[in-house]
């Protein structure tokens, strides 16, 4: 009777098992890594805009408050992009002939909106509200990063569910005083957690109730 398995069969089996496990593990790491990659989360992309608007210049160098243009941020779910009229409050006076601003002037004369490309966007099944985050002490910078250093705007943080829920589980370290909400480069005091907890207590943040599905999805 001939042998079915050669002497090396055992080795092959072990190799195959080890290789398979490695492949599975590696694959898993790869998939998770891919899902977190800048490619998927689009944190590396500066989309082309009709006007090369620089937050660095407006928010950083000129020091215009975020809420001057994104006026809905305290009152509604959406911060909103500024209407053409807001751009023209200044640009009817300065840089009135700049070629760069031609689309803005065209928008005003033709009464057609400027077609910006949205940079900070959540999926449709996420019902995010700006106003409550601002009211409870989550600063602009926490999600949008150092906007004041961006010549062209990009997504500073990966808007993954993990990113949102980490903070919903434990918001304290990310809370800042109301008067610092729109400040860029705000440094939390050494006792960030203690201060955050004080703010959370003062604002009545409902710990433990912010992680269930219907808070964001419905």
């Amino acid at each position: 009777m001939t042998q079915i398995f050669s002497p090396a069969a055992d080795t092959w089996l072990r190799l195959l098992l080890a290789g398979g496990l490695a492949l599975l593990g590696g694959g898993l790491v790869g998939v998770i890594g891919f899902a977190h990659s800048a490619y998927v989360t689009s944190t590396d992309i500066r989309p082309r805009q009709p006007v090369p608007f620089s937050h660095k210049h407006h928010a950083g160098e000129l020091g215009i408050d975020c809420r001057y243009c994104h006026s809905g941020v305290e009152t509604g779910p959406r911060a909103g992009l500024p209407p053409t009229a807001t751009c023209m409050t200044c640009h009817s006076q300065i840089w009135t002939n700049s070629a760069m601003l031609e689309p803005v002037r065209q928008s005003l004369t033709r009464q057609k909106p400027v077609a910006w490309t949205r940079v900070a966007k959540l999926p449709d099944y996420v019902f995010f509200r700006h106003d409550i985050h601002i009211a409870k002490g989550v600063g602009c910078e926490t999600c949008h990063g150092r906007i004041d250093t961006m010549p062209l705007t990009y997504r500073a943080k990966p808007f993954t569910m993990e990113f949102c829920i980490d903070c919903h589980r434990d918001p304290a370290p990310n809370l800042r005083p109301q008067e610092r909400i729109a400040e860029m480069g705000w440094k939390p005091p050494p006792d960030a957690r203690k201060q955050g907890e004080a703010i959370a207590a003062h604002e009545g943040i409902r710990f433990g109730e912010l992680t269930h599905c219907y808070v964001c999805h419905r």
Partner: protein, 964 residues
């Protein structure tokens, strides 16, 4: 474990078996097959081979995770050019305005997002609606986005411009100026708009030889003629149900659909709840065709429509109307009359007698005198009829004049006679004899197609107009959205007839009101727009006595009684193209997408027909064929035909459904006539929902009586699950079965609020309707005279929810506040949760029921709720978007939620206030108060699911009489 069959279901107290269809009662094998199917909605598929199944499932599992890696695309953002003040994107705005039913204003508050209306609710300040609504009000918003609306003026079907229209009207005006409008006729429907009436009167003044005709397929015309017969003058009669203790109704569906439903349902329920230990108002009803009113009547007599004058006469004689002679009565009739009369005498002037608005004048006459004899004057209010065109003729006269060649130009204002005129008038042929015909309407419908010109008018939600509510109070109707088609308001078009060139829409309405608004006009105008009505414009009460002329009994005629009723969902046919209404299970029949000929079980047995068999109904020399519905509790010799179906040019949704009852409707007897019925031999499957989503168990509907006003207390069930830690807010809902009148307003409100899809007739047939809230309808007793029960069943939000145990992917979870959450993105469509759900409240998207991306209905969606795709389960969320919005509002103010901060869509729509929602951890909340009520019980308590949605038992009004 023994499986309980549903036929074991009992009503507690009475100990009677609950049944939901005739087939169930008679033990039909087809019924048993449906019940035995594990998952009826999926039953039509051939079983997939196991190997194939594993292959498919393996692939789905492997690929399921990859969808999470989808890269979200960069999309355009379009800000305003010049943002209007006080506008924030995503924050709704609210406008007080009105939609129309039979010409009457239904005052609403319209919710608009970014300038598009998505939801309508009753105006809480208005004396008629007080924030409540009905199905027509809730569904009106979908009518606005109807893609089949006429989108621009046409002439013989070819598109033309409005300047062509103006030129044509100019030429016509030159002709009328020469001959004073000889040959000009206007045909209008039900109109209460002061502006339109002012314009028409101005037109008649300009051209005195012109004439107006009124065509009301349903309307208030017949009701006024009944009042005229009873009181000697045309009147509007209003009931003060709030003050009544007893109501006796002779075939009067007083709580049924119609312009006055909201007000009456509200008054009825507040009277019903007046006392804690017994029902505050009792209803004795003699009825030929079962209605929602009959379903909640404590004492219901089944009597043929033609018996009503005699019954009313007998009752009048019993309560002391001198000229009434006692007719011969059957024993059951005699007993009912005795009980009703005794109850009225015991009510000490708080008994109201009502007669059907579709009945015979003799009934109304006897009822008026009975009310007088019972001194019910304080319970009735009479008002002079709302203004109308004094010289208006009827449709039959117009048809005769056209045939005689006296009509040169016919202008049809928002009326559809080619569909809704009695068939014997042959309006379709008659219309084509008119030299120049102009149709104004929302659709290029049956009439629009036959007229030379079709001019599309704006929907009420995009119009400036005005109208009166049932009590006469005026609402200035303001647009909630700019017209998105090339349409004009009806006033703009009539202004063209008056010789004005392209007038502004608002101007004509403003012109009507300067003298009639108190104080400064601009301030008064703004106030009227803000409030949604003008104060002190209600009709003025008049004092009348019943007429004393002799009441002539109706002429006895051979044959079956044939009655016509407006359809409870699509009314006279004007709502035929609104999918939400088509898919709504009609009260009692639970029929969707069509109409039926309802007959009594006795008659069905006599001619050997079952549900769905075709019958031929012959009235005089005309006949129609339609499917039959054997209606438990219908009078033996009464046949009911329902108007509103058989449309040919309603649009994609409403065309080709059902039969057209207008075809056989006699001109002289529009509501009650005689006819015959024959079996045809063919049959069809009706899209009825009565057997869908069946529960297994007992005591679904419970009752209490004034002797035993409390149910036995529930024994706490042991549970192996840990008690949940109490959160600050624990949401719960209590539904009062005694107040529910089965009107469906909650179902349409839920559909509108939660983007519930319409699935179509074939899908409903296999049980796939998607309503998150169903109104289960049960019967007890004999099929000839059963008692009927309505039970709204939304998700129970069980604290120990079986569905949560069943889901393999954790797509349904529990929130700390006790809401059973459904996560669409996690759902892989195993439908296990639905199998596990003992209440059968979960709905599965078998197909992608979403509208095409470019279709205008997309704009009707609530932007705060996900629009679900294929393959996911969905169910009632307790309007979680409203809960979260209330949380955000309260959190921003840094306060706790208060009772009443969260109002669910069904709760806010319910005209009787039967649904109460709130925090059950707050002992002061209304919902907690109701949970302590003796009538409080839990559906399927034996399951131990500890539902958050619970019920209040119904009062059994008659138990004393029956027992004693």
């Amino acid at each position: 474990m023994t499986r309980r069959s549903p036929s074991d279901a009992k009503v507690s107290g009475g100990g009677q078996r609950l049944w939901s269809s005739i087939e169930e009662l008679s033990g039909d094998p087809a019924f048993q097959a449906w019940v035995d199917a594990e998952y009826p909605a999926a039953a039509e598929f051939a079983p997939t081979a196991r190997r194939e199944f594993l292959k498919l499932m393996g692939a789905s599992f492997a690929l399921a995770g990859l969808t999470g890696c989808e890269k979200s695309p960069f999309v355009a953002a379009l800000p305003y050019v010049d943002q209007p003040q006080d506008t924030a994107v995503g924050v709704p705005k609210f406008y007080a305005t009105a939609v129309m039913l039979d010409g009457y204003a239904h005052p609403v508050i319209a919710t608009t997002y970014s300038g598009r209306p998505t939801k309508l609710d009753g105006n809480p300040d208005h004396p008629v609606t007080r924030g409540r609504s009905d199905i027509f009000m809730q569904a009106a918003v979908l009518g606005l986005y109807d893609p089949d609306r006429a989108q621009g003026p046409t002439r013989r079907g070819e598109p033309v411009s409005w300047s062509d229209v103006e030129n044509h009207i100019g030429a016509l005006r030159r002709e009328w100026a020469r001959n004073q409008g000889q040959g000009l006729r206007l045909l209008i429907g039900s109109v209460t708009s002061p502006t339109l009436l002012r314009q028409i009167n101005a037109l008649l003044k300009q051209f005195p030889a012109a004439r107006v005709h009124i065509h009301q397929p349903v309307g208030n015309g017949w009701r006024r003629s009944l009042a005229a017969a009873a009181y000697g003058q045309a009147l509007d009669v209003h009931y003060r149900l709030e003050d009544c203790a007893v109501v006796v109704s002779f075939d009067d569906d007083l709580l049924g659909p119609g312009a006055d439903q909201v007000r009456r349902a509200r008054d009825w329920s507040s009277a019903r709840r007046r006392e804690a230990d017994k029902p505050g108002i009792r209803l004795h009803m003699a009825e030929s065709v079962p209605t929602v009113t009959g379903a909640i009547a404590g004492d219901r007599l089944v009597a043929d429509a033609s018996r009503m004058p005699d019954l009313a006469r007998a009752f009048a004689s019993k309560v002391g109307v001198a000229e009434a002679q006692m007719p011969d009565l059957a024993p059951a009739e005699q007993e009912w009359i005795d009980r009703a009369a005794a109850a009225c005498r015991g009510a000490n002037g708080r008994a109201l007698i009502t007669a059907g608005v579709f009945g015979h004048a003799a009934t109304s006459g006897w009822v008026a005198r009975s009310n007088d004899a019972l001194a019910a004057g304080a319970l009735l209010e009479f008002t002079a009829p709302l203004e109308t065109i004094a010289t208006a003729g009827r449709l039959a006269e117009l048809a005769a004049d056209i045939t005689a060649g006296q009509v040169e130009t016919l202008v049809v204002l928002d009326s559809n006679p080619a569909y809704s005129a009695p068939g014997s008038l042959d309006i379709g042929d008659v219309l084509q004899k008119v030299r120049s015909s102009i149709h104004l309407g929302l659709h290029r419908d049956e009439t629009g197609e036959l007229c030379e010109w079709q001019l599309p008018v704006a929907h009420a939600l995009e119009s400036w107009t005005d109208a009166r509510a049932v009590d006469g109070t005026v609402t200035i109707v303001q647009p909630t959205v700019a017209p998105f088609y090339d349409v004009r308001t009806i006033h703009q078009i009539v202004a063209m007839l008056l010789g004005q060139s392209d007038p502004a829409a608002e101007a004509m309405v403003r012109e009507t009101w300067p003298a009639k608004l108190p104080g400064d006009f601009e301030a008064g105008w703004r106030q009227a727009l803000h409030d949604g009505f003008i104060e002190d414009t209600a009709a003025v009460s008049v004092d009348v006595r019943p007429s004393t002329t002799e009441i002539t009994p109706p002429f006895a005629d051979e044959g079956l009684d044939v009655v016509f009723r407006p359809d409870p969902s699509v009314w006279d046919g004007q709502f035929a193209n609104i999918g939400w209404l088509q898919e709504l299970p009609k009260p009692l029949t639970t029929l969707t997408w069509g109409n039926v000929v309802t007959i009594s079980p006795a008659l069905a047995q006599r001619i050997d027909v079952a549900n769905g068999d075709h019958v031929k109904v012959t009235i005089r020399d005309r006949s129609l064929t339609g499917p039959v519905w054997v209606m438990p509790g219908q009078a033996a010799n009464t046949v009911a035909l329902y108007l509103g179906y058989g449309r040919k040019r309603a649009g994609r949704v409403g065309d080709g459904l059902g039969y057209n009852a207008y075809d056989v409707r006699p001109v002289d007897q529009p509501w009650l006539t005689k006819g015959s019925l024959h079996k045809v031999g063919t049959a069809e499957t009706l899209a009825v929902t009565q057997l869908h989503h069946r529960m297994e168990g007992f005591d679904f509907v419970r009752e209490v009586s004034s002797q035993h006003p409390a149910l036995p207390p529930a024994s706490p069930k042991p549970s192996i699950y840990p008690q949940k830690s109490p959160s600050k807010n624990a949401w719960g809902m209590v539904i009062d079965l005694d107040s529910c009148i089965g009107c469906n307003a909650c179902v349409v409100a839920c559909t509108a609020e939660n983007n519930v899809p319409v699935v179509g007739k074939d899908q409903v047939k296999v049980g796939r309707e998607m309503h998150w809230l169903r109104i289960a309808r049960y019967y007890t007793g004999e099929v000839e005279a059963p008692r009927s029960f309505f039970q709204p069943v939304p998700c129970m939000h069980c604290e120990d929810a079986p569905c949560e145990m069943g889901c393999p992917v954790h797509a349904t979870t529990h929130s700390p506040e006790g809401v059973n959450q459904m996560v669409y993105n996690r759902c892989i469509g195993t439908r296990t949760c639905s199998s596990y759900c003992p209440y059968k409240v979960r709905r599965f998207n078998f197909y992608d029921y979403r509208n095409a991306p470019e279709s205008p209905e997309q704009a009707a969606h609530n932007p705060d709720v996900t629009v679900r795709s294929r393959g996911v389960m969905e169910k009632c969320t307790y309007c979680t978007q409203r809960i979260e919005a209330a949380h955000v509002l309260a959190d921003k103010e840094n306060r706790a939620l208060r009772d009443g901060d969260v109002v669910t869509a069904c709760q806010s729509a319910c005209p009787t206030g039967a649904i109460v929602f709130g925090n059950i951890n707050d002992p002061g909340s209304e919902v907690s108060y109701l949970r302590r009520n003796g009538r409080h019980y839990t559906l399927l308590e034996e399951q131990g699911t500890r539902p958050r949605t619970t019920y209040l038992a119904r009062w059994n009004d008659m138990s004393k009489d029956r027992e004693g």
